[in-house]
Symmetry: C2
Subunit: 326 residues, 2 copies
């Protein structure tokens, strides 16, 4: 029997899937972090070795039954990093083919079952990727909290703090964000947030600021104008990221498929309408949905394509019914 | 003879002025940093002692000839810090009166020769202070680069980087800021600025970002739309800070005097017109000018007021002709 081994390698963990060429999953498991910027050449080599061993053990197979090992890794987007990561993988004790790509690429493969489309991710940070008919990858946003992350949880929480401080110093409208943020962080006055944000210890950092996003959605639901404006702006910023990629993919006036991922989209009933208003004018049809598959089974779909297998409904059905996140 | 000793105590140095009650300056000199958050109680006590000794030496006077020692310090704005700083000063070997206030207060005293007015400061960061007829102090902005500093050099440089990245990823208009920033930092592509901003070593930090401001003004002068919008926005943000203070000082519909300070105002021919357009509607007269005096002689003006002396044209003329920044 011939097997494909797929890996979604992120900053905190790697998810691995071992599947038959029919799409049937025989094993899934987790290993340690895989971001190439963090683990480097030696780390990647030993991680790949570990994953192969675990695939043999969990799948009850021999390593030489794996015809294709697909790795979608964070931190290999740049050409030079990609080359170094490939070199590290060439030293692994494995005789089959290795396909190295980015975590974004397998996320797109999973989200659209290998069709072209755009994925927009908004958790603590935000980023947007698109894949066109030719397999070309496009990207917008994702420049991090100091240079972007528009529409993300950090963006929403940060805007809320700015608005509360502007209410305090007279530059902005009155907003219930101010007392709500004060009680969220147990502050006597909103101005006391300032030393906490710049502090080295016990500081209010990126994650804590992003953690304000649900509070901002609540204030908006309670009818606070300022909070509503922030939510509206976040939706628009996410739509702008999608549109920037759509334009470069030359999808203007064509149908567009968009998948959304990340904690901010727990509020999809608020965000999707804003995004649709912004995007509908530019595309003949707009289909915004959750990803069909997670990135790890996306690596299997990519592998099947790479092996020249048709991505039939049957194959996808097999994958859907047998895959469970580890 | 009776003397006043005034100090402008900032984060990098303190400037001291020894003057007669006629406004005539007899000595000026520099000492070390005076930000209370940095130097603490012991540091402040020994700095004050040092300044008194130097005043005796440079002025050729005895310490007991100083009737009032005015200190305008950074980092004593909060009540608790102010109380601790006063306690530290009470331990100094000095029998005259001590008047402790903020650096903002003496800056306002200097800028308007003790009249009410608003001072707007835009260097690397930005902040705005106002002083009303009753001597009450108001403030807006100044929340630092992560939470504000609107209209500052950092704000202008940061907006320029965001715009260049949005040009790059398709979200924004084309702008010459992109190639100009690339060559300014010697980058192959603007996206290479991202790791440099987040880097621990050899990073592009706050100061370097603020250092882009002159380049942004240049691009605006060369007719770049995006740069023009940033400059316009900076002017508006500075005006908003002034207006927030003006409203709380209840100056709406009244005449308003505004002084500007800081490196960003090297471009006053660009910024002042924008600020005037925004502010003129709200005040019956608008007088925007450079400060009459620097903060250090401002401490002397405050001291004279405190001693019940009239701030006559003659006193101001004496101060103007005899004060030279040390």
């Amino acid at each position: 029997m011939e097997y494909i081994l797929g890996v979604d390698g992120g900053g905190t963990k790697s998810l691995a899937v071992l599947a038959r060429e029919t799409g049937e999953v025989v094993a899934t498991f987790q290993k340690g972090p895989a971001n190439f910027q963090q683990i480097g050449e030696a780390g990647l080599q030993s991680l790949a070795e570990e994953i192969l061993q675990e695939a043999e053990r969990s799948g009850g197979i021999r390593r030489d039954e794996i015809v294709l090992f697909v790795l979608g890794l964070a931190g290999v987007g740049r050409r030079d990093d990609h080359r170094r990561a490939e070199e590290a993988l060439s030293r692994v004790n494995f005789s089959g083919r290795i396909l190295l790509t980015t975590d974004a690429y397998i996320a797109l493969m999973g989200a659209f079952e290998s069709r072209p489309g755009i994925i927009v991710i908004a958790g603590t940070g935000s980023i947007c990727f698109g894949l066109d008919e030719e397999g070309e990858l496009y990207r917008s946003g994702g420049w991090g909290y100091l240079l972007g992350d528009e529409g993300s949880g950090y963006f929403i929480g940060h805007q809320a703090i700015l608005a509360a401080l502007k209410d305090f110093d007279g530059r902005g409208e009155k907003t219930i964000l101010r007392p709500r943020i004060e009680s969220h962080f147990d502050l006597t006055s909103i101005e006391d947030i300032v030393p906490r944000v710049y502090a080295k210890e016990n500081s209010i950092g990126k994650e804590e600021i992003a953690g304000l996003a649900p509070l901002v959605f609540e204030c908006a639901a309670d009818g606070d104008d300022v909070a509503e404006q922030i939510v509206e702006l976040a939706g628009k910023e996410l739509a702008r990221m999608v549109h920037a990629v759509g334009k470069r993919m030359k999808k203007l006036g064509e149908p567009l498929e968009v998948a959304y991922v990340g904690s901010v989209f727990k509020q999809k009933h608020v965000l999707l309408p804003v995004m649709k208003v912004f995007l509908s004018d530019h595309y003949s049809e707009l289909d915004i949905h959750e990803p069909s598959f997670e990135p790890a089974p996306g690596a299997i779909i990519l592998g099947l394509k790479e092996l020249g297998k048709a991505i039939t409904l049957e194959v996808l059905e097999n994958l859907r019914t047998t895959y469970r996140a580890p």
